[in-house]
């Protein structure tokens, strides 16, 4: 129960941080910063709310597969876009 509450508070904190960061003049760095914080939040949700560690190895592998295959798609599309 406590773990969930701490996680929730941490998420709200991260939300605040991401909005604050967006108001800084970071230029091109703003995008990766925003995504990085989102990734952090997502990890908290997966790790605590979705109880990643209590899942079977197959379920964990499925979670990874989704992310990794998305990276395949993104990476190879960007190979084309980046070198046109």
């Amino acid at each position: 129960m406590k773990r969930l509450t701490y996680a929730f508070l941490a998420l709200l904190l991260l939300l605040g941080v991401s909005v604050w960061i967006a108001t800084l003049p970071l230029g091109a760095l703003g995008w990766p910063a925003g995504v990085a914080i989102a990734l952090l939040k997502a990890l908290v949700v997966v790790g605590v709310f979705m109880e990643y560690r209590r899942q079977s190895w197959e379920s964990r592998a499925a979670a990874w597969a989704g992310g990794v295959w998305l990276l395949f798609l993104l990476a190879l599309v960007l190979v084309d876009l980046g070198t046109r």
Binding site: F72, L73, L76, L81, R84
Partner: protein, 539 residues
């Protein structure tokens, strides 16, 4: 066996309701078999009309607009409503639980839902065809499909979108079933190779299909609502559509061929009465093909003005994905070595498959060579290549598998002689149809051409003639297999003396597959030892 003969899954209920609301994976397989046969006939009629039209260089039989609708119909129906569901949804549905000794798939209701979703998609696609058709080709390239085409693109795309979910459901079902429901004592490397291929196929279905679904949804939104994502008129990139489309549609080729490879592994082992050569290599090459197959889609875009660097990367990866396929061919051939080969109908199909798939795969190398592809891209060379894989490969394997497991599915024997005749006929007809197209392609005849230059006529005529033989070859099994349903001799539980758990139960199997739990199978394909005990494939 004696008690099982009393009721089986076919006799367990005969009302229409008992079929339409069934959750039995075997009955759902039958429902799929009937539906995809119907779709195959629709797609086949379109193919015959196209080949007739192409017998002469002019546009004598149908107008351009009709011709474009015909090849779109042929492509969409054959790809999404026949080839992709064929082996997984029919043979896979029937065999996956049987082969691992389970009572059913993990999610029987989801399985039934997948059939309904499939039919809903199919009805929508057929509706689009009867309403007036679609002329974009099965690839739906933007901006033609989103802005310029005047066909029923949205309905067709919606049909494919919906049918996609049936693929996803089937994939999830197979993966979970294979993970969680294998009989005690069956480890990953004791599974029949068909299951390895089903697992790899499911991997692709699950991870690639959603990409197609959302891409087609974006296309429909652009066409209906004008919210353009790909529209060059507002700065959109039509190549993005191609990237996303082929991210699904190249792996989809492996959805079509991997199950065929699984079937052929079973057939070759059984009818050469030999253990499969290099079991682990064959098993893992399926997974390798499934994973690597995701990284090569750009070879469909070598001349699309994708960057030179991207083309080179995709070309390299395409060459590499051919390695695991080559491994499979070697292993099948080596399995024949010192076997005791029986030339039954399924085996003839399997041998035909090896030849046709090898040629299809090798010409794939030529297409992967980017400098040559610049010339042969979008010509009949490509058409011939992918028909060698999809039809020469997948359809041969599907028919082979159907002939192999027909006694298990129906409990009946078909005419062995006619089985062999049709296998040979299909092989000959196929080669006559598609071999000339390789030459046509290199000579420069573009695909999707309704009217063509005169120097191409001779080869086109050969191809059309072959199509007639091929068509006959496909109609034959329809006749004698149906005939066997009514007049066939009872098959017995294991007519081929095959290993594998599915042969340990009655034919047709009882409602929950096994009476009691099947015994642990141990090592698969122990045919070499069975031989000494007097087992034989010639029952």
């Amino acid at each position: 066996m004696s008690e099982a003969a009393e009721t089986n899954y076919l006799t367990a209920g005969s009302s229409l309701r008992s079929w339409l609301l069934t959750r039995d994976h075997k009955r759902i397989a039958i429902l799929y078999a009937i539906s995809i046969t119907a779709f195959f006939l629709v797609g086949g009629v379109a193919a015959v009309l196209m080949r007739l039209e192409l017998a002469t260089p002019g546009g004598d039989l149908v107008a351009s607009a009709t011709y474009n609708r015909l090849f779109t119909l042929h492509g969409v129906i054959m790809v999404w409503f026949f080839l992709i569901p064929s082996i997984p949804s029919v043979l896979g549905n029937f065999l996956v639980p049987l082969m691992i000794g389970a009572r059913d798939l993990a999610f029987p209701r989801l399985n039934l839902a997948s059939w309904y979703v499939f039919m809903a998609g199919g009805v929508l696609a057929l509706g689009a065809i009867f309403a007036g058709g679609v002329d974009t080709g099965w690839t739906f390239y933007t901006p033609y499909s989103s802005t310029y085409s005047n066909g029923y693109v949205v309905a067709m795309v919606a049909g494919v979108f919906i049918a996609g979910f049936s693929s996803i459901f089937t994939g999830i079902n197979f993966m979970v079933t294979i993970h969680a429901m294998r009989v005690k004592g069956m480890g990953w490397f004791q599974m029949p190779l068909f299951l390895w291929s089903m697992y790899s196929t499911s991997l692709i279905m699950v991870l690639a299909t959603p990409v197609l679904a959302i891409t087609l949804a974006l296309l429909a939104i652009e066409r209906v609502g004008g919210i353009g994502i790909f529209d060059p008129a507002i700065g959109g990139d039509p190549l993005l559509f191609q990237h996303l489309f082929w991210f699904y549609s190249h792996p989809a080729v492996y959805i079509m061929i991997l199950p065929g490879m699984g079937v052929v592994s079973e057939l070759i082992a059984c009818f050469s009465r030999n253990r499969i050569f290099g079991y682990k290599f064959v098993a893992l090459s399926s997974v390798a093909i499934a994973a690597l197959g995701f990284l090569v889609w750009g070879h469909h875009m070598f001349v699309s003005s994708q960057s030179v660097v991207a083309s080179l990367v995709f070309s390299l990866l395409s060459f590499l994905v051919a390695v695991p396929s080559a491994v499979k061919v070697l292993n099948w051939t080596a399995t024949l070595y010192r076997g005791r080969i029986v030339f039954s109908a399924p085996m003839l199909y399997a041998i035909g498959f090896i030849g046709l798939f090898t040629l299809g795969g090798l010409t794939g190398l030529i297409l992967a060579a980017v400098a040559v592809d610049v010339h042969v891209h979008d010509t009949y060379f490509v058409v011939a290549h992918f028909h060698y894989i999809m039809v020469g490969g997948m359809l041969m394997a599907y028919l082979g598998g159907l002939h192999f497991w027909w006694p298990k599915i129906t409990g009946k024997q078909y005419s062995r002689r006619w089985g062999r005749v049709s296998a040979v006929l299909v092989f000959l007809g196929f080669n006559l149809t598609f071999m000339p197209q390789f030459v046509l392609g290199y000579l420069g005849m573009p695909r999707r051409y309704h009217i063509y230059a005169e120097q191409f006529q001779l080869l086109n005529l050969c191809s059309s003639a072959g199509a007639v033989i091929l068509g006959l070859g496909y109609l034959l099994p329809l006749c004698y297999l149906l005939h066997s349903l009514f007049c066939g001799k009872p098959a017995g539980s294991n007519p081929w003396s095959a290993t594998g758990l599915e042969w340990q139960t009655a034919s047709p199997p009882p409602e929950h597959n096994f009476n009691g739990r099947p015994s642990s199978p141990g090592e698969p394909y122990r045919y070499d030892r069975m031989g000494k005990e007097g087992g034989s494939a010639e029952a």
